[in-house]
């Protein structure tokens, strides 16, 4: 519907000074708590500066040096970076990180989605019990989880091999066989991550207006159709958020391989952070591990930027 305002220009000339004053008053109103806001921000900024920004700058400076903590740092230029970039083990670790992400994040999202669909479909009390049970692994430390799973995976006497023995299957060296080790580590990673993922998905599902489902039911839609045409599209924001956070958390997994396999049979579970950690522990000079850490930061930053660009290209803002 179009409305013509033949006197627009006149009224604009009269309105503008008031509008500018109004904007100024509005801005001052918005920022009336400016002083307090900055004071409240100060502790967080100070802590961030001391523990994040300053170490990052110092690390970048040290990455161009050889330093053994006992002698003064010795400048070596780009050598640490070239050593890392030409090290096939570094690239293998990064590749393994991506494989690990592929092994943990999609199954975790699928399982969490299934679980949260169950939670929203059952009675209140039972749903509460389900939510608590799925969240319990999240509060168990990853180190304890690793130890428990080492016991489960034990070659002779472990629960899993005993269970397989009932079916006449020979014991499998879950943590000793390069074929199985990474998968063996992915299972506790999925188990640990499911709690938070499920609860966030449940919250997202509850937020979907029930009118959509009622309308769909009236049209005769079954559960699958409701899920694919209502639930998933409405949860796109959440799913993409979980994808990004899941990716970042999975590729930086350190506790599980460190405790369970220490990098594993033939480096098959050496994820990027463990690779850097091992170099820091074993090398005499720390320049290599710092350079590797900064390069990992670049890799992760690039992938995250790509994901965000993908996210922005979709019209997700409601």
């Amino acid at each position: 519907m179009t409305v013509t305002h033949p006197t627009m220009t006149e009224t604009e000339a009269l309105v503008v000074p008031d509008a500018r004053n109004a904007r100024r008053r509005h801005r001052r109103y918005l920022y009336r708590d400016g002083k307090i806001a900055y004071w409240l921000l100060l502790p967080a900024v100070v802590l961030l500066g001391i523990f994040v920004i300053w170490p990052a700058l110092y690390a970048a400076y040290l990455s161009f040096h050889d330093w053994s903590f006992y002698k003064a740092p010795e400048f070596v230029g780009w050598r640490n970076y070239t050593n890392v970039l030409t090290d096939p083990l570094f690239w293998a670790a990064i590749g393994r990180g991506f494989v690990f992400v592929a092994m943990t994040v999609p199954p975790m999202l699928l399982l969490a989605f299934g679980f949260s669909s169950l939670v929203v479909a059952v009675a209140r009390r039972f749903a509460g019990a389900l939510k608590v049970s799925i969240y319990l692994p999240t509060i168990i430390s990853t180190v304890i989880t690793s130890i428990i799973f080492v016991v489960i995976y034990d070659y002779s006497g472990g629960l899993l091999n005993a269970f397989l023995g009932l079916f006449g299957i020979d014991p499998v060296a879950w943590l000793g066989d390069p074929k199985w080790a990474l998968l063996a580590i992915a299972i506790p990673a999925i188990w640990l991550g499911m709690g938070l993922t499920s609860l966030i998905m449940v919250a997202a599902m509850i937020d979907i207006p029930t009118e959509y489902y009622e309308a769909a039911a009236m049209e005769g839609a079954n559960w699958w159709q409701k899920t694919f045409f209502i639930t998933i599209p409405q949860m796109k924001n959440i799913i993409l958020y979980l994808l990004v956070t899941g990716f970042v958390a999975a590729i930086q997994q350190l506790d599980l391989p460190l405790v369970m396999t220490q990098g594993g049979p033939l480096d098959s579970t050496t994820l990027p952070n463990l690779f850097i950690f091992n170099h820091f522990t074993n090398d005499v000079n720390v320049g290599y591990s710092i350079a590797a850490a900064l390069l990992l930061f670049v890799v992760l930053g690039t992938v995250s930027a790509l994901i965000f660009r993908f996210v922005n290209s979709e019209r997700l803002v409601d």
């Binding site: 400016g34 053994s68 090290d87 066989d177 049979p265 074993n282 005499v284 000079n285």
Partner: protein, 448 residues
């Protein structure tokens, strides 16, 4: 808006000031002694076999009781946490004043991590170190470590009962790989579920340090050429060694996942394996934790390659005490070191007696005291270890760990069937060549 800009500048200045203040007060500690003039020094010792751990705790107690000027605070650190804990402590400038150290000291000395002992330990004590341990404690005429012991790192143990049950002579272990294979073929049918014939090294890191002797046994040299310019593993000797382990794996003579660490005797003590490959120290663990097996354990040299020509199959490991270069109590630490292991042999005698006479002292006075001890006669393995195995053992390699690790990775790849010997050796060669080039090894090669 000028207000907020001022706020930002003030916040930035506060941030900078806080950062500088914190960095200034890190790492600074007070001068030596406390109010009473007592110096406190920190001592870290690794977790060893139970009798050794007990000796360490006891010697610290005795030293503290024997004088009042120096107080030693000791910490026992598990082996798998050692590297991380030490690295973190060094990074924070809080490395212990004195600690146990194994392996070659070359890298640590080059990095300036160790205190020169000539300044804090008597010359006579340093001169007393036998030649067998001099190369691991002295570089360029200066002493950086005081050794406590040397010991064979690869020795074969066997359960006499299990050998008898298979119809084999319990007093005589296999002396060659062929004999070992034949023995395992006879033992395997007699095993119960969960038992295996042999428990050797089976992961890259353990292969890396514990098979150097076997590499020498099979090929007559170790992983680098004498001038350290090239890797030297692409030959029949190394391939034969890798294939022997592959045979053990393929025939099911060894478990597919280690039942216990190489350095500990838990799987042997629990009678899960007939043969166990470990260092000679394992005997002391049997003596303390599995006493009933002590008389039923056979000890012998690790089996030879077919063409060994009398070469040894084991390296001689060591443990030394070193003082941190940044220690503020170096003199006090030196006094403790000297009193404990470089002074009266009676202080260090229980160490060798309680470890079942499996360790070799590095001072003549201590060797004499040990052999005079009445328990020595009850330890027949002691003669085998000290007089038959140790004399021919080769010292640990002095080239970087990454070279050994590349070989160990190749061995594990071939054993588990992940790579063919050719591919595994090619990968290892590339990795070793990289280490040679990055560390300029030819210039560091030993000149003899």
């Amino acid at each position: 808006m000028r207000n907020s800009k001022g706020r930002i500048i003030a916040a930035g200045a506060a941030l900078l000031a806080a950062g500088l203040a914190l960095s200034a007060c890190s790492g600074g500690s007070s001068d030596g002694s406390d109010a009473n003039g007592v110096q406190t020094i920190t001592f870290w010792h690794r977790t060893f076999t139970p009798p050794e751990n007990a000796w360490y705790k006891d010697i610290v107690k005795q030293f503290n009781a024997s004088q009042s000027k120096i107080k030693v605070v000791d910490t026992e650190v598990p082996a798998d946490a050692w590297d991380q804990k030490m690295k973190a402590a060094q990074a924070a400038g809080k490395a212990p004043d004195i600690y146990t150290h194994s392996g070659p000291i070359q890298d640590a000395v080059n990095a300036g991590q160790l205190y020169n002992l000539d300044e804090v330990v008597d010359k006579s004590a340093l001169q007393e170190i036998l030649p067998i341990a001099q190369s691991v404690s002295e570089i360029g005429g200066k002493f950086y470590a005081y050794p406590l012991l040397v010991e064979a790192q690869t020795v074969l143990f066997w359960n006499k009962d299990m050998l008898t049950a298979a119809g084999l002579d319990p007093e005589q272990g296999p002396t060659t790989w062929d004999e070992l294979m034949a023995d395992c073929a006879k033992i395997k049918p007699t095993l119960k579920s969960g038992q295996y014939c042999i428990s050797p090294a089976m992961d890259a890191a353990t292969f890396a340090w514990s098979t150097v002797g076997q590499q020498y046994n099979f090929s007559g040299h170790t992983a680098l050429t004498d001038d350290w310019t090239k890797p030297n593993i692409d030959n029949d000797g190394y391939r034969a060694l890798m294939n022997e382990y592959k045979q053990l794996w393929d025939n099911g003579y060894m478990p597919k996942q280690a039942l216990a660490a190489y350095v500990e005797g838990k799987d042997f003590g629990q009678k899960k394996v007939a043969f166990k490959v470990s260092g000679s120290w394992m005997m002391s663990e049997i003596g303390s934790d599995y006493k009933d097996l002590l008389t039923k354990t056979g000890v012998g040299a690790f089996p030879d390659a077919p063409n060994a020509d009398g070469r040894t199959a084991t390296t001689l490991g060591n443990f030394k005490w070193v003082i941190d270069a940044k220690s503020k109590h170096a003199k006090a630490a030196g006094q403790f070191l000297q009193w404990a292991i470089a002074g009266d042999p009676a202080n260090v005698l229980p160490f060798f007696v309680n470890t079942q006479f499996t360790k070799i002292p590095v001072r003549q006075s201590v060797q004499d005291a040990v052999s005079k001890d009445e328990g020595a006669a009850d330890a027949p393995w002691s003669d085998i270890l000290i007089n038959k195995i140790a004399p021919t053992a080769i010292p640990e390699p002095t080239y970087p760990w990454d070279v050994s690790l590349a070989v160990g990775t190749a061995m594990e790849s071939v054993m588990k069937g992940a790579k063919s010997p050719d591919d595994a050796i090619k990968t290892a060669d590339a990795a070793i060549a990289k280490v040679i080039q990055q560390n300029d090894l030819p210039s560091k090669a030993p000149k003899n």
